[in-house]
């Protein structure tokens, strides 16, 4: 199992080495020590490998991830798993702002809290946060799911398109065009699937969650607003 100590070798060498791996590589499990808050650790991976990072990471860790599984044994800075395409990113501590921003696919699990703008402009990723999330989360979210076991901050789902937001705790306020929606069987089933993927099968009851989504009133130009332009 290859190990990379970032206090001994430069970060670019780590990322270059990981980028060079073929999809059928035998070196499929990597550990990284000494991250010390460095930025863009294990960003841009494109092979079905797993990378485990011991410590706190800086910005954009596992950004643009495809196929890979990245586990962070610590906290993550701004934009963890931003623009992820597929794969799995697991933050065992807290995540800072814009976790999972603009991501198209894959699963992001945060064991602690996530800061403001979690899942901003998400386009298909599934995010599960075991703690709470900050303000303006899922702003302009387009697809995917955001599941929060704790509370959500101000203006949840502002200008939302079609993502599904499941929150178990309180929501400080809803953003423009975001409304609470009926939790039907199909939603409970979907939520159960996401919780299971996050390793929470049987631990959390999907019926404790409320569902929020788009009222779809901002999709089209409304002639009554013509005077505003």
């Amino acid at each position: 199992m290859p190990n990379f100590d970032l206090n001994r070798a430069p970060l670019r060498e780590l990322n270059r080495t990981l980028h060079a791996l073929r999809p059928d590589t035998n070196e499929s499990h990597w550990t990284v020590t000494g991250p010390d808050g460095r930025h863009a650790i294990a960003a841009g991976l494109d092979a079905p490998i797993s990378v485990e990072i011991d410590g706190n990471v800086g910005y954009y860790c596992a950004g643009m991830n495809k196929h890979a599984s990245v586990v962070i044994n610590g906290n993550a800075g701004v934009g963890v798993a931003e623009n992820m395409m597929s794969g799995f990113v697991h933050v065992r501590g807290d995540a800072s702002q814009a976790a999972g921003a603009t991501a198209h696919g894959g699963l992001l699990v945060v064991d602690g809290n996530a800061g403001a703008r979690c899942g901003i402009s998400m386009k298909g990723i599934d995010i599960v946060v075991k703690g709470s999330i900050g303000h303006m989360s899922a702003f302009m979210a387009q697809a995917g799911t955001l599941t929060v076991l704790g509370d959500a901050g101000e203006a949840l789902g502002d200008s939302l398109y079609e993502a599904r937001l499941f929150v178990r705790g309180s929501v400080r306020s809803l953003g423009a065009d975001c409304i609470e929606k009926e939790m039907r069987d199909e939603h409970r089933e979907q939520l159960h699937g996401k919780l299971k993927a996050a390793g929470l099968a049987g631990e959390i009851d999907p019926s404790e969650f409320k569902r929020y989504g788009s009222a779809r009133r901002l999709y089209h130009f409304h002639v009554d607003n013509a005077g505003a332009y």
């Binding site: 010390d36 808050g37 800086g58 910005y59 800075g77 900050g134």
Partner: protein, 297 residues
């Protein structure tokens, strides 16, 4: 962009290391602010008040100090550090010293006044600035620092942080204020004076004014959330206090670490990595629009 750091020691055993720790934190933030750097250190309690003077070079400063001593018929204790000189002035003579310097010198600025606080700032890479003033050799209870990447005004020493507008009070700022002109006019009506047109100096002045009116540091920062408009993460020092606040939108990054020995602030976690026992520290992101304040007893 800009980087800000702060370190508030709870354990006196770390006081001899304050400068070294703060210097490392400041240098780590070079990428966020390579133009200029500055820092405030709360060191030993002096007699009277310490005035930190800044001049073009040490020669000009010693000419000014000799003139001052001759003019006022007094001897002042001084500590020289590159382009700055710390002048110890007995209680009651501060106004006379300031008046003499204003009337008789050019290019000599009073950067700060405090019983314990000294402020140093210059243009240049943070490592060079810290080195010129020997920050690593300084001791104290707490300190704050700033690395600047100028976006809206020139790269000058006057634009560098920290800003001080009151005895032992200073502030560093990451962000930009949008109502600083209006606020400066209001504060000038309250009798405050400003040395620059800088937005951050207005924030420092605002807090000085609130505290002058009886508010605690925490209360002053709470009301700043109502009265100051714009983007900001502030780290503030007073003689015995240390505080952090972020605006409600919280665009500017912030991370804090707390142990039994200290409270530390950094724009990024990287700045905190060298602190003793950081692996066991409680590391957290300060919430938007919430004031975090610590006080020494």
């Amino acid at each position: 962009m800009c980087g800000i750091v702060g370190l508030f020691l709870k354990n006196p055993k770390l006081e001899p290391q304050l400068g070294t720790l703060l210097s490392n934190m400041l240098e780590t933030m070079t990428g966020r602010g390579p133009d200029s750097a500055g820092f405030a250190v709360y060191g030993a309690d002096g007699e009277g008040v310490k005035l930190t003077l800044r001049g073009p070079d040490q020669a000009a400063l010693s000419v000014a100090v000799s003139g001052l001593e001759a003019g006022l018929g007094a001897r002042f204790e001084t500590v020289e550090r590159d382009t700055h000189t710390v002048l110890s002035v007995p209680a009651g003579r501060e106004d006379a010293v300031r008046a003499w310097l204003q009337a008789n010198t050019r290019g000599i600025d009073v950067v700060s006044a405090g019983r314990r606080m000294e402020i140093y700032k210059e243009v240049g890479l943070p490592a060079q600035v810290a080195g010129r003033f020997d920050l690593a050799g300084m001791t104290g209870t707490h300190g704050i620092g700033h690395t600047r990447m100028a976006t809206e005004s020139a790269v000058t020493t006057n634009g560098a942080h920290p800003f001080s507008t009151g005895i032992d009070e200073c502030l560093v700022h990451n962000g930009s204020l949008s109502n600083h002109n209006d606020m400066r006019r209001r504060l000038e009506r309250e009798g405050l004076t400003f040395a620059t047109r800088n937005d951050t100096e207005v924030a420092a002045g605002y807090l000085s004014w609130r505290m002058r009116e009886g508010a605690s540091l925490k209360e002053a920062l709470e009301s700043s959330l109502r009265d100051l408009d714009g983007f900001f993460t502030f780290v503030v020092g007073t003689e015995t206090g240390f505080a952090v606040v972020r605006d409600p939108i919280a665009c500017k990054p912030a991370v804090m670490a707390e142990t039994d020995d200290y409270v530390a602030f950094g724009s990024e976690y990287r700045a905190l990595v060298g602190l003793p026992g950081i692996d066991k520290a409680r590391v957290f992101e300060p919430e938007p629009a919430r004031v975090y304040a610590w006080e020494r007893h």
